[in-house]
């Protein structure tokens, strides 16, 4: 494994180590966030580091008292991290109203986790149309104002600079995916998805340097994907690397995805000319949508099928956290489209607090047997 990739993989065991070190070095503020719709560029332009919280594989001890049992493990284990002090390095948190659990978690978080800065971003549910765009522009401008009041000034120049860095990062990640579609053997699925996830944990200019090094170091195929079945995967957060490793072990490799810590994170660019806030708003509406958002003219299943075809995937895995109702709501319609297109698929439900990769192994193996014609 080349050096840059090896260095990045080391960070995976303790996802926030980089952010804690950065804070110590710079004395600057770190803001936690949960959702890919957070305009990270604005936070970055204020000189703070946005880091994404995606839960933790742990048995919770403190969050159970605050959450109903039907809340997903992303909410449950993240709140536990905050309440047990594991997120004490944060100076604040940004919530986006996506699903009901996230909206309610925001209130519980504000009252119990008590970070100095807390902000809710309420984006439109329906992203299309001028009214939605205008509303989004106002909400983002409002967000910028709150960041300026609590974190630091956000000048237009700094914002343009941050947008350029973020666009570059998205470009590099898109390139990585393109290279893996051509030859999945250049790195494993768990490495590729960590490269995307780590982008939301490391300051972007540094992440860009690391990514450039990784991409340069990709000498060619390691041959490790020879004979592996190409798969597509979809879901919300993908932070279960043992699961991804198992998929590789049993002979599959994920060549493209629709995770919010995967393809959706780097999909679409912010226009670099014109009003930066409007540009950010336009990108959020343009990027691959999450099931919490609605774009009437867009056929989510059709888009996924296109990408499945382009990636050469022969099967799909829906990877869902238990009790995730937005993803469950979209699933039957997407599954139907896949069935009609003859793409075998698997629906897996997991929880951060009881991950059992071995139980899932049989299912993934059976999917591969179906793909290979038994």
């Amino acid at each position: 494994m080349d050096d840059a990739l090896a260095r990045m993989m080391e960070l995976r065991d303790d996802p926030f180590q980089w952010a804690r070190g950065w804070k110590e070095r710079t004395g600057s503020k770190v803001l936690g966030f949960f959702c890919g719709y957070v305009p990270e560029e604005i936070i970055h332009a204020a000189g703070a580091l946005p880091v994404r919280i995606t839960g933790d594989n742990r048995v919770t001890s403190k969050s159970g008292a605050h959450l109903q049992s039907y809340c997903c493990s992303l909410a449950r284990t993240s709140l536990d991290m905050a309440l047990t002090g594991d997120l004490d390095f944060l100076d604040g948190t940004v919530f986006v109203h996506t699903c009901d659990t996230m909206q309610r978690l925001s209130d519980i978080w504000r009252l119990n986790a008590c970070f100095p800065f807390h902000v809710d971003l309420v984006l439109p549910v329906r992203f299309e149309g001028e009214a939605a765009l205008e509303y989004m522009r106002l909400e983002l401008a409002n967000f910028r104002k709150k960041v300026e009041e609590n974190i630091g000034p956000v000048t237009d120049a700094a914002l343009s600079e941050s947008i350029k860095l973020y666009n570059r990062n998205r470009e590099l990640l898109a390139e990585l995916y393109e290279l893996r579609r051509e030859d999945p053997g250049i790195m494993s699925s768990d490495q590729a998805l960590w490269l995307v996830a780590s982008s939301a944990l490391i300051e972007k200019s540094e992440h860009n340097v690391l990514l450039e090094e990784v991409l340069e170091g990709l000498g060619g195929s390691s041959g490790q994907s020879d004979g592996k079945v190409r798969l597509f995967a979809a879901g919300s957060v993908m932070d279960q690397y043992d699961f991804l490793k198992m998929v590789e072990e049993v002979g599959g490799t994920i060549v493209d995805d629709d995770f919010c810590t995967g393809h959706r994170y780097f999909d679409a660019q912010v226009p670099e000319d014109g009003d930066p806030i409007e540009g950010i708003a336009r990108r959020l509406a343009d990027r691959g949508s999450c099931p919490c958002k609605y774009l009437p003219s867009r056929d989510r299943a059709g888009r996924l099928l296109d990408r499945i075809e382009k990636s050469g995937a022969r099967g799909a895995i829906f990877f869902q956290f238990k009790f995730c109702d937005p993803h469950s709501f979209d699933y039957p319609y997407i599954k139907k489209a896949l069935d009609e297109a003859g793409i075998p698929s698997l629906h897996l439900e997991i929880e951060h607090d009881s991950v059992s990769v071995e139980q899932l192994r049989t299912r993934v193996e059976a999917l591969l047997e179906i793909v290979r014609g038994n």
């Binding site: 049989t362 299912r363 047997e369 179906i370």
Partner: protein, 260 residues
């Protein structure tokens, strides 16, 4: 040359030896705490039954929950694919396999060639499995094998709403305390299992005919309750516990080209 399929399940390990497409030996042993040893034992007993030496086997395919533990396999294949293939062999008209084993319950949609089209499995829940019935038999002090026959005598099955093994057991205990007859309670348990399996199965296309495999297929009460729920007659093969091992053996035969 003979080929073998070994199915190391959570409760029992099974082996089937085929020669020229005919079953020449089979076995069934309890898995116990060591699935590697159980697989070995199942294989040895089947060899004894068939009167062949291990060296005389051309290929051994191992399936089931303990398949990765076997040290004698030529290849491992999931029980999903094996049950589909086994069911196709005994009953070519089957399009849905409901496999109720010791720890897993599965519904498998198959095509006319016995290939898996889709499947669904229980998730961290023992309801509808052999283990669930063992617990219930224990709570009611009835032999596991007698549950089915007893339940057929019921005229008004007692409602059992929980499908969680632990909650269902306490519910059964309270029915006992209320003085409800064992016959009605057992019939109620079977209905609860049938509802659970039905709810899981309809997530895939359930086409007729339905065949039931696995140890629970030996419980006629569960089979009748499932028939009522699915509103169709369900095929119970002659040796429901061996269907997975049979499927594995058939695939072994295909791989060696020695079928027929």
């Amino acid at each position: 040359m003979p080929v073998t399929g070994v199915d190391i399940g959570s409760l029992t390990a099974k082996a089937v030896i085929l020669d020229g497409g005919k079953i020449i030996g089979k076995s069934l042993v309890m898995t116990g705490h060591n699935s590697r040893v159980a697989g070995r034992k199942a294989l040895d007993l089947a060899l004894l039954d068939a009167g062949v030496e291990e060296g005389g086997l051309e290929r051994i395919i191992v399936t089931g929950y303990g398949r990765h533990s076997a040290d004698f396999s030529s290849e491992n294949i999931t029980e999903i694919t094996c049950h589909a293939r086994g069911a196709r062999a005994t009953h070519p008209e089957a399009r849905t396999v409901i496999d109720l084993g010791g720890q897993d319950s599965k519904a498998i949609a198959i095509d006319e060639n016995g290939r898996v089209v889709d499947f669904v499995m229980n998730d961290k829940c023992a309801a509808g499995t052999g283990r669930f019935l063992e617990v219930m038999a224990g709570a009611l002090e009835v032999e596991l094998d007698d549950l089915g026959g007893i339940s057929l005598r019921s005229e008004s099955p007692a409602p059992v709403s929980s499908t969680c093994t632990v909650f269902a057991e306490s519910e059964v205990v309270s029915r006992v305390a209320e003085g409800v007859s064992k016959v009605d309670i057992i019939a109620g348990i079977h209905q609860a299992i049938a509802s659970r399996i039905y709810a899981m199965s309809v997530r895939i296309p359930v086409n007729e005919r339905i065949i039931i495999t696995g140890g629970v297929a030996r419980n006629i009460g569960v089979v009748r309750a499932l028939e009522k729920r699915f509103e169709t007659e369900i095929i119970v093969p002659e040796m429901p516990q061996h269907i997975g091992a049979l499927g594995a053996a058939l695939i072994a035969a295909e791989r060696t080209g020695s079928e027929n």
